[in-house]
Symmetry: C2
Subunit: 199 residues, 2 copies
C-alpha cells in the first residue's frame, strides 16, 4: 500500500487516537510542521480518499449545528500504518535558499557572501528559539492535562530541531567570519559600490 505524503502524516496522527481533520491540522502546525507540513487543501480530500480505501473510518461527532467528523484507523489502516513505520525512510527533501545564494555569491557579489551567511545564521537561531518555546510548553503539559502531541517520541524530534538549528547557526556564523577574511578588500568597499575586477 503506497501512502502519499499527506496520508503518512494522517495515519500517523490517527495511530494515537481518533481525530477530526481540523485537529490533525492543528497538531501538524504545532509539531511536524518544520519537517512535514500539510494544508487543509490536502488534508480534507485525503481523509475522504483514505476512507474510500478503507484505511480510516469517519464518525459523525457534530455538536448542535457545528459539523464535525472524527476519523479512526480501521484494522487495515492500522496494519498499513505499522507496515509503513517498519520500512526504511525514503523521503528526504530540502530546499534552502540561503545555501543557494551562498553558492552563487562568489560570482555575483563576493562581498555579500558573509552577509548571506549571517542572515542564514539568524534564521537558524530564530527557528531554534521558536522550537525551544514549544519544548517548554510540551514539558509544562507533561504534568497534568492531555498532552498536545501524541507521545514522547515527539520530544526527541523536537530536540533534534532545536539542536540542529543551533548547530547551523554556529556554523554559518563561523563561515561568515571566514568568508570575511577571504575577501577583506571587497568587504571594505561594500557601501561605495566599486567595480569588481580581480584577475
Amino acid at each position: 500500500m503506497e501512502l502519499n505524503a499527506t496520508a503518512k502524516v494522517i495515519v500517523g496522527m490517527l495511530a494515537a487516537r481518533p481525530r477530526s481533520g481540523y485537529e490533525i491540522k492543528q497538531l501538524v502546525d504545532h509539531s511536524t510542521r518544520f519537517f512535514w507540513a500539510a494544508s487543509y487543501g490536502q488534508i480534507y480530500p485525503e481523509l475522504k480518499r483514505l476512507e474510500s480505501e478503507g484505511l480510516i473510518e469517519g464518525t459523525d461527532a457534530s455538536q448542535g449545528g457545528r459539523q464535525r467528523t472524527v476519523y479512526d484507523l480501521t484494522a487495515e489502516g492500522r496494519r498499513v500504518a505499522a507496515e509503513w513505520i517498519g520500512r526504511a525512510p525514503e523521503v528526504f527533501e530540502l530546499r534552502d535558499e540561503g545555501l543557494l545564494k551562498l553558492f552563487f555569491a562568489g560570482v555575483t557579489d563576493a562581498g555579500r557572501a558573509p552577509d548571506i551567511a549571517r542572515e542564514r545564521a539568524g534564521r537558524a537561531r530564530e527557528v531554534a528559539g521558536r522550537l525551544s518555546e514549544l519544548e517548554a510548553m510540551l514539558e509544562a503539559d507533561e504534568d497534568g492535562g492531555p498532552p498536545a502531541s501524541p507521545d514522547a517520541g515527539s520530544l526527541t524530534v523536537l530536540r533534534y530541531g532545536i539542536e540542529s538549528n543551533e548547530w547551523a547557526a554556529e556554523w554559518f556564523e563561523r563561515a561568515a567570519t571566514e568568508l570575511e577574511k577571504e575577501a577583506p578588500a571587497k568587504r571594505a568597499a561594500k557601501a561605495t559600490r566599486t567595480s569588481r575586477r580581480r584577475s
Copy 2:
C-alpha cells in the same frame, strides 16, 4: 520581479557564464541538487519563459546536426539576479521521513524507535560520504582544467553539506542509544513478536 524556484537556479548558474539547458541540468545534479533540485521538465520550459520575459537570451550553438542553444543573462537579467541575491533568503523547506517516523514511533511501535534513529544516522553518513567524494573531485579540479562549478562559494556550501550530515549522523546515533535505554524490555522482545501491553 518574482523568480520561481527553477528561475532562481537558472539565473544563478548563468551569472557565472552562458550555458545550455543540458549544462545547467548537469551542474545542478553535481552541486545544488542536495538543497535545490531541478528537472528537465522544469528547466527547458523555464528557459523559454525567461527568454520571453527578457531576462535571458538564447544563441544557437549547434554543431553540425546536433542542436544546441546557449543562454546568457541580459542586462535586465543580471539586474534581477543581483537583486535576488541581495534580498534575504525566504525559502526553507524540509521533508524528512525519518523524523516523521521517529515522531510517531512512540505510539505505534516504541521498540522500533532506536532502529529508525539508526537508519536515519546511516542515511546521513551516506550523504556525507557522497559529498566528501564530490569535494575531493572539486579540489582536484582546482589546479588545471575549468572548474566543474561556478566558484569557491560552492566549496563553502559543500562543506556545510558534509559537516551537517556528519553532525546529524552522530546525533541520531546518540538518540538511538538513549531510546534503547528508555525501553530495554521492548527492545529485548524485538524478534519474537510479543503482544505489547504496558500501562
